[in-house]
């Protein structure tokens, strides 16, 4: 009997020890996994994958940096959504791309309100408008998961919160962007993959590829909606009040996407804003092949260089090399 009790106690002791060891190992494993995720989460911010996805963030001369970055008096800046962001590149010009990618016209105006002091007197403020609209609301991943509503601000500023939360007038209303802080929690496979197979830095857009374009609804439009049309008038007036030169550029699309609606859009822009500011219609400037674009509406970098030079030439802006 005593032997059985001893065996029983020994068995319990052995099991407890094994359990403790397993528990300890499990704890270590959990800590290691968390540490791995933590390190990946930190490291991803320096990848091209991240910086290209939220590409415009680093283009801005944000408040904390203006003391160390002495560039001022830009002769030309551009605003507009993703097609505009990729249509302008200023390697050969004293310009600044203020388009943040996926955003509304309201966001463009808000960015201009915050950054216009970097523009020189009389400088060109280009607003690129595409004849096609992309309804990102269809992309639940883009809007709903990453971006949270901020109290007291209209929906149109949602993109603004994603990339430019520091621009908000009232800091107390900023709801922390969980995705922007902890991307690994929401896209673990993409984040970890990017650490081992980062995309090419020089050709970021090409490397992302057509298939990764957010699942969105892209449709031709004949005009802007009433609200957006008013915002563009506000944008023009804002520029004029501050002695800048507003310019609206109707961005080209590949010829296969041209139809009666896109032509109507160009005519509508010219008719609506042509009397208030300079309007550049760029569809007819050359034959736009599919190879000029990486994704629908998104130019290749080579095309963007030529296109920027063409637009700035028509505004008589000189290259820094001239």
């Amino acid at each position: 009997m005593r032997r059985k009790i001893c065996l029983f106690i020994a068995a319990i002791g052995l099991l407890s020890t094994i359990g403790l060891c397993l528990g300890f190992l499990a704890l270590v494993a959990v800590v290691l996994v968390l540490l791995f995720f933590y390190c990946c989460n930190r490291k991803v911010f320096s990848t091209n994958y991240w910086n290209n996805r939220y590409l415009a963030v680093n283009d801005f001369l944000a408040s904390p940096f203006f003391r160390s970055d002495e560039r001022r008096n830009f002769g030309v800046v551009n605003l507009g959504s993703a097609p505009s962001h990729y249509a302008f590149t200023y390697e050969a010009f004293q310009g600044l791309n203020l388009s943040s990618g996926c955003q509304s016209l309201g966001t463009d105006l808000e960015i201009l309100r915050n950054y216009h002091s970097f523009i020189k007197k009389g400088g060109f403020v280009i607003l690129g408008l595409s004849p096609y609209q992309i309804d990102f609301k269809e992309d639940v991943a883009y809007w709903s998961r990453f971006i949270r509503k901020v109290p007291g601000r209209p929906d149109e500023y949602r993109g603004y919160y994603a990339n430019y939360s520091y621009l908000l007038p009232s800091k107390s209303h900023i709801v922390p962007m969980r995705f922007m802080r902890y991307p690994i929690r929401y896209k673990p496979f993409e984040v970890i993959y990017s650490l081992f197979a980062d995309i090419n830095k020089d050709l970021p857009v090409e490397s992302i590829g057509r298939s990764n374009w957010p699942k969105c609804c892209m449709s031709a439009r004949e005009s802007l909606g009433t609200h957006d049309a008013e915002i563009v008038f506000s944008y023009i007036q804002f520029c004029k009040d501050r002695e800048y030169t507003p310019v609206i550029v109707v961005l080209p699309v590949e010829n296969s996407l041209v139809n009666a609606k896109t032509e109507a859009f160009s005519n509508w822009v010219l008719g609506t804003y042509g009397k208030c500011c300079k309007v550049i219609l760029s569809q007819g400037y050359k034959a736009w092949a599919a190879s000029d674009f990486i994704r629908p509406l998104i130019m290749t970098k080579t095309t963007a260089k030529d296109f920027t030079a063409h637009v700035l030439s028509s505004l008589s802006v000189k290259s820094v090399n001239d």
């Binding site: 003391r67 008096n73 002091s117 007197k121």
Partner: protein
């Protein structure tokens, strides 16, 4: 001896002012006595600097040590944008006076012409002049369009404006407007943060050699000769004695004209970052 300017309302201010932005207690306790010993009597503070209380304490300490009375020193403070939203300037004046531990401020400015707020708030500030707790009022960082809008709406104009002004940013149109309307112009960042381009400007270095002065003294003298009130900032106690010695020489007209050629409308402080919609 530091000269003075008489404002449109008859108030008198010294022609040089010492800035206190981004200074902590330790720095203020060193800088303010050094400035007073060098002859400076005019100090610039602001709600946004977050150190009004420290400035007031350091100033009182230095006044006691040097035997100066309140009427012999001058203080500016500014209403922050975040406070302008409250639209209660009396409350903000109380707040600043409490922080500074003073009965009055010599010059009270709005820090920025904050869109949708600055006109109503300026009207309130003007009403508070009668209380005697404010001697003069003004506006920092305005453009002509702000002053014009203010005048068209209220019939009021500031006694003083404070703007970024240095050889690389000379805003001649704004200065002409102010001269025409008897508005005293004060210059912040009068030395353009001594960025390398200014510090090593061949022209300014040449003039420094010609007059036996430093580049900083040349630029401060240039301001004063234009009738501008520079608000300079220094963390070096020895700098105050140097900056006070700008009244023993005169830049000739030709040299003033040569400095005018440096203008490139360069703004070191981008206004719109501090005041969206500016």
């Amino acid at each position: 001896m530091i000269s003075t300017y008489r404002l449109s309302n008859g108030a008198v201010l010294p022609s040089l002012c010492v800035g206190t932005n981004r200074m902590d207690r330790q720095l203020l306790d060193a800088v303010i006595p050094a400035a007073i010993n060098a002859g400076f009597r005019f100090f610039d503070s602001a709600q946004a600097y977050g150190n009004e209380g420290l400035v007031g304490a350091a100033l009182r300490g230095a006044m006691e040590a040097s035997g100066l009375t309140r009427s012999e020193v001058f203080i500016t403070t500014k209403v922050d944008n975040s406070k302008q939203i409250g639209r209660d300037m009396r409350k903000e004046l109380d707040r600043s006076l409490q922080q500074l531990q003073m009965d009055y401020v010599d010059l009270w400015l709005q820090h920025w012409p904050y869109p949708d707020y600055f006109i109503d708030n300026f009207r309130q500030m003007a009403d508070l002049l009668a209380s005697g707790r404010v001697k003069s009022i003004g506006l920092a960082n305005p453009r002509i369009r702000h002053l014009q809008e203010l005048y068209d709406t209220t019939g009021l104009l500031p006694q003083v404006i404070q703007i970024e002004l240095h050889p690389f940013r000379q805003v001649p149109e704004l200065l002409s407007f102010c001269k025409m309307h008897k508005i005293q112009v004060a210059a912040y960042s009068p030395l353009c943060f001594m960025i390398d381009r200014l510090k090593h400007s061949p022209l300014l270095v040449e003039l420094g050699c010609k007059y036996g002065k430093s580049v900083g003294q040349i630029v401060l003298r240039w301001h004063v000769q234009r009738g501008v009130l520079p608000v300079f900032r220094s963390e070096k106690a020895t700098r105050f004695a140097e900056n006070a010695k700008i009244f023993d020489f005169v830049l000739d007209e030709d040299d003033m004209n040569r400095i005018a050629t440096l203008d490139e409308d360069y703004k070191f402080i981008p206004e719109s970052l501090h005041c969206p919609g500016y």
